[in-house]
Point group: C2
Chain length 222, copies 2
DNA sequence: CTGGATCCCTCACGATACTG
DNA sequence: CAGTATCGTGAGGGATCCAG
């Protein structure tokens, strides 16, 4: 326990000692939306070795970010959930995710997309000022990944899974990133067939105003 | 370059690929306030091996967070500075630092405190709503570390070094953390001799209102 | 089948020494 | 001052194995 510290009396250094190890923040990310079992976590993070996942959960539990809970019968299952302290990381994760999304290129063939990360991406890129006077329900489908967003009174509710009666279903693929970043217009995306719509097509224009990855800042040389 | 990725199409995963390696965010932290030379960075982060510092700087430069700049003569020096993209991390660092500060215990004997981290701690814990109607200049001394804070019109300006004509000089030690967290009252701190004041003592009460580490959330069991 | 623990290999990190 | 070179250690990666 004496190793692995930064030797600085600093809140940031402390934070990095708590969640700075590899995979730690992604585990927290997958617990933001709901408690999960070990196997569910592993399904959402297939590239993490089970021993590392095990170690991270123990460490996160020890420092009060995650709580291990054994469900009462009949489902004799173990779930991991965030503590109140862990939940405070959500806003930071969203900000960091929005920052990182600016330099996100096209998805590689190995890259996976999960319901959790897509849902958090909706929350991270939501712009309340664009949601005034709007009440709408979107269902977003990317391959087999289905999430939804409901906007009402300037508030976003985003979650996993389909929606009862969506005003618009957006069925798309990798082009979603370019659309999100404003690199392609909704019209062009639909026309190319990269996006299929079910419902009110006009709501797609609202969608790209509601959810937006900021443009990547470019530095002038010198 | 193919290794070290998370295999997820996710802004957060991307962010962690950019700044998730050990020491990376602390290097960014030390560049937030001002560009620095290699040796200055190493002075602020004495525990980082020079080869690792070298590697981090190269990586951060390659991904567009840091720029390496050779100063023109006469000072044939090399400085590292943040790009616009790197500067966008400041708000995130402050939030993360404030989060981590909640679980910061007493400083260990090995822990060091730097001007940079103390200045950023001021920025991170500043509460504008407590600064209304106030115009004041503080000088904060912790050992040989001296920083300052100027408050005017609800705005904070915090930086390294002393102040021309401070309204209050706060000369203190490790007790500062407890004061910051509200675990000890200003009066008790002064009375115990752990804090020495020069200037208007009433401004110390304002200080603890202006800068505050939020209380650590405690989870109810079950 | 869930919920991990164990083993082995590799590579990043840490410490130290050294150079333009 | 601004790094590079070398080398040992331990954490991470991948596969397999085990208990309830």
């Amino acid at each position: 326990m004496t190793g692995r510290t930064y030797g600085q009396f600093c809140g940031l250094a402390r934070a990095l000692e708590l969640v700075g190890e590899r995979w730690a923040l992604l585990v927290v990310r997958d617990l933001v939306l709901a408690p999960k079992r070990f196997t569910d976590l592993h399904r959402g993070l297939p590239r993490i070795p089970t021993n590392v996942l095990s170690a991270r959960l123990k460490e996160l539990e020890q420092v009060g970010i995650v709580r291990r809970r054994v469900l009462p019968r009949p489902a004799a299952a173990v779930v991991y959930e965030l503590t109140a302290y862990g939940r405070e990381l959500e806003a930071i994760l969203l900000q960091l995710g929005r920052w990182g999304a600016q330099s996100l290129g096209e998805p590689g063939p190995e890259d996976i997309l999960t319901e959790d990360s897509l849902t958090l991406a909706l929350r991270a890129t939501f712009r309340p000022e664009a949601a005034r006077q709007l009440r709408a329900g979107y269902e977003l489908r990317v391959g087999t990944v289905v999430v939804h967003a409901r906007i009402a009174d300037g508030i976003l509710e985003a979650g996993i899974g389909p929606l009862e009666a969506p005003d618009l279903i957006i069925d798309t693929g990798p082009v979603l990133r370019a659309l999100w970043a404003g690199e392609i217009s909704p019209g062009a995306a639909v026309e190319s067939g990269a996006i299929r719509l079910t419902g009110d097509p006009a709501l797609l224009d609202r969608f790209v105003e509601l959810f937006r990855i900021p443009a990547t800042p470019v530095d002038a040389p010198a």
